[in-house]
């Protein structure tokens, strides 16, 4: 039929009205896209967080006084005092524990740059955490004395290449040793890449703490029993602090889901309001063109032909609104964080708490700069999925809003419609 060309021409006949009606949808769609993109951005951050946390279900550390301010949990938690390495045997006896890996992390300096150094046991570390994302060279092995794996950002910062040697010291004691760079890892988050991995024995030797560890990383037999196992550990082993990163991630994911729901609701309410504009415009169009409907019916148009004609017009308004909305949303999603830098560019972690080290203006030993430069946590991510969702939502709103007016038009009796002036 002429459905499409008729619909397009009718909309063009009332350009301003069409534009105003579509703009109601534009507001809702662009809002939806901005919000969805922000949530996607946060999701990306959380996902890389999960990767960075390395899949250890539980970490156990000494619950008593702080030793220094670096190390520990990627800077989120200050690092505690050390534990005796024999605790590994105690912990491995706890039911539900699948694998363990001891770790000695400390704040050291590489070529004079203060960073976090992780001393680990390569084999068990890979089992518990799934290993690092090595982008160049290789990871540590059992015979990796004197070898080091460094984060990509730190490599670039120190202008290092694979195979070079670096000098590493623990700061406190001042003992210095040289290490050969054998691998580079990437996490996608700059601050996590200002770190290096060496063999556990090397770490203990440099710090002069032979037989001591700072953390035990634990993988449970099943992800669903993590909280049970962690409370078992708390009650069975006195004086330790038990953290459950995967549960934290789960909580963060739950929070994100809530946030998505909340934002989506706001966007949907805006869309709902916009859809009334479409209903109104279409009702007006039906009234204005009553006579035309009568004529079409008189020359043989069936009810569904009329229905199709008006639904197509409403759909077109929805498509215009969806298209422009996606465009406007994409632009605004990038402008928005610039307008509110306090919210999007500083140290709010995906866990919703302030990074204890990231007071604006202070230099964080881990991050190698002021936090405002490196801690851009929530960057909107405009994914094809989000665009597709928003665009089709515009079309859907158009069709839904057009249903009643189109139905009214299709139900008109030809004689009465023809009498309409």
């Amino acid at each position: 039929m002429f459905t499409w060309s008729l619909a397009i021409r009718n909309l063009r006949r009332r350009k301003l009205r069409t534009a105003l009606t579509a703009s109601g949808i534009v507001v809702g769609i662009s809002m939806m896209l901005i919000l969805l993109s922000l949530v996607s951005g946060m999701e990306t951050q959380v996902r890389s967080m999960v990767r960075a946390l390395g899949g250890a279900d539980i970490t156990v550390s000494n619950s008593t006084s702080f030793r220094d301010r670096a190390g520990g949990f990627f800077g989120f938690l200050p690092s505690p005092s050390t534990l005796d390495a024999s605790i590994v045997n105690v912990l491995s006896g706890i039911p539900g524990v699948y694998a363990l890996s001891p770790q000695y992390s400390f704040s050291g300096s590489i070529n004079g740059r203060r960073v976090t150094i992780y001393g680990i046991e390569p084999a068990s570390y890979e089992i518990v955490t799934g290993g690092l994302n090595i982008i160049e060279g290789r990871f540590l092995t059992e015979n990796s004395a004197g070898e080091i794996v460094i984060g990509k950002a730190l490599m670039e910062f120190l202008d290092l290449t694979l195979g070079q040697t670096v000098s590493l010291s623990s700061g406190q004691i001042g003992a210095e040793r040289t290490f050969k760079v054998i691998g580079v890892f990437e996490t996608g988050m700059v601050f996590q890449e200002y770190a290096a991995y060496i063999a556990l024995a090397d770490a203990q030797e440099i710090t002069g703490e032979s037989g001591r560890i700072t953390h035990v990383l634990i993988k449970c037999e099943d992800p669903s029993i993590v909280s049970e196992v962690s409370s078992l550990i708390s009650s069975a082993v006195p004086g330790v602090r038990v953290a459950t990163p995967t549960i934290m991630v789960q909580q963060a994911t739950n929070m994100l889901n809530t946030l998505t729901m909340f934002f989506a609701t706001i966007g949907l309410v805006a869309l709902f309001a916009g859809s009334f504009g479409v209903v109104n415009t279409m009702m007006m169009a039906v009234t204005e063109r009553t006579r035309e409907i009568g004529v079409l019916k008189a020359i043989g148009a069936k009810s569904h032909d009329i229905m199709k004609l008006f639904l197509t017009e409403a759909l077109l308004i929805g498509l215009i609104g969806g298209g422009v909305g996606v465009l406007a949303g994409s632009i605004l999603a990038h402008v928005f964080p610039m307008l509110v830098p306090g919210m999007f560019a500083t140290g709010i972690s995906p866990f919703g708490m302030r990074n204890p080290f990231s007071r604006p203006g202070t230099t964080n030993p881990m991050l190698g700069g002021t936090t405002t430069q490196t801690f851009r946590l929530v960057l909107p991510a405009i994914t094809p999925m989000n665009v597709a969702i928003c665009f089709s939502l515009g079309a859907l709103v158009g069709i839904l809003a057009g249903l009643y007016p189109a139905w009214r038009a299709s139900r008109m009796k030809p004689v009465e419609a023809l009498r309409h002036v």
Partner: protein, 229 residues
């Protein structure tokens, strides 16, 4: 073409009562009308005498309160909505006083609408619409919108549209009512020519002597009844 005496339209005790608030208005009162194929029938009468109501019932635009309308032997009052739409699409063509062309479409596209509704393919309907416009002498105006055409031209486009699916009956409600006498005469000459060439039956509601001169039969209506032939 040969004029047969076959009956094409027959109404049987056709009545229509409208309710206007609490008052019933008898628009048609037991009308029995017989139209032979190939006739040009004129229906005259004062306003409110039921002419348009009769035309609408024959055209399947409205349903009677009682009585029957036979077209080619089929009682169209028993048809469902969709069948009735199909009847209007293929069996009859409508011409209105105020042309009622679709303002957003060109002359050619207006003629194409019934063809498109009938499912005729794009190329075929373009060709057919062009030949119809040629027939009414408006081929050169094919790409003009209705507001770029004179009243007489618009009415000729409307006739071309009414003839699109080659209906056996054309129903016209005061087709010359908005035209000057020159255009009206030209229109009636066209109708006579079409009637002669294609044998189409015309039923025309009118007050216009120019129209009645062209008719083969004239009925006069008063108070919902046919008074005289």
């Amino acid at each position: 073409m040969s004029k047969t005496t076959k009956t094409i339209v027959r109404t049987l005790n056709l009545s229509k009562i409208y309710r206007r608030g609490k008052v019933n208005i008898q628009a048609l009162n037991n009308v029995n009308l017989q139209v032979s194929s190939g006739e040009i029938v004129g229906i005259m009468g004062p306003s409110g005498s039921g002419k348009t109501t009769l035309l609408n019932l024959i055209g399947g635009l409205d349903r009677p309160t009682s009585g029957k309308v036979f077209v080619d032997g089929v009682d169209i009052t028993t048809l469902g909505e969709s069948e009735l739409a199909d009847y209007r699409l293929r069996k009859v063509g409508f011409v209105f006083q105020f042309y009622n062309l679709i303002p957003t479409l060109t002359a050619l596209e207006n003629v194409e609408v019934p063809l498109a509704l009938a499912g005729v393919s794009k190329n075929e309907r373009r060709e057919r619409a062009l030949s119809l416009l040629r027939m009414v002498g408006l081929e050169a105006r094919a790409d003009h919108k209705p507001d770029e055409l004179s009243g007489g031209e618009q009415q000729r486009v409307a006739i071309a549209r009414a003839l699109a699916n080659n209906p056996s009956i054309v129903l016209a409600d005061e087709p010359t009512g908005d035209l000057d006498s020159k255009s009206a005469t030209a229109l009636m000459n066209l109708i006579k020519e079409l009637n002669r060439k294609n044998g189409q039956t015309f039923i025309i509601v009118t007050h216009d002597p120019i129209v009645t001169q062209a008719c083969t039969t004239i009925y006069t209506m008063r108070d919902g009844r046919i008074e005289s032939a």
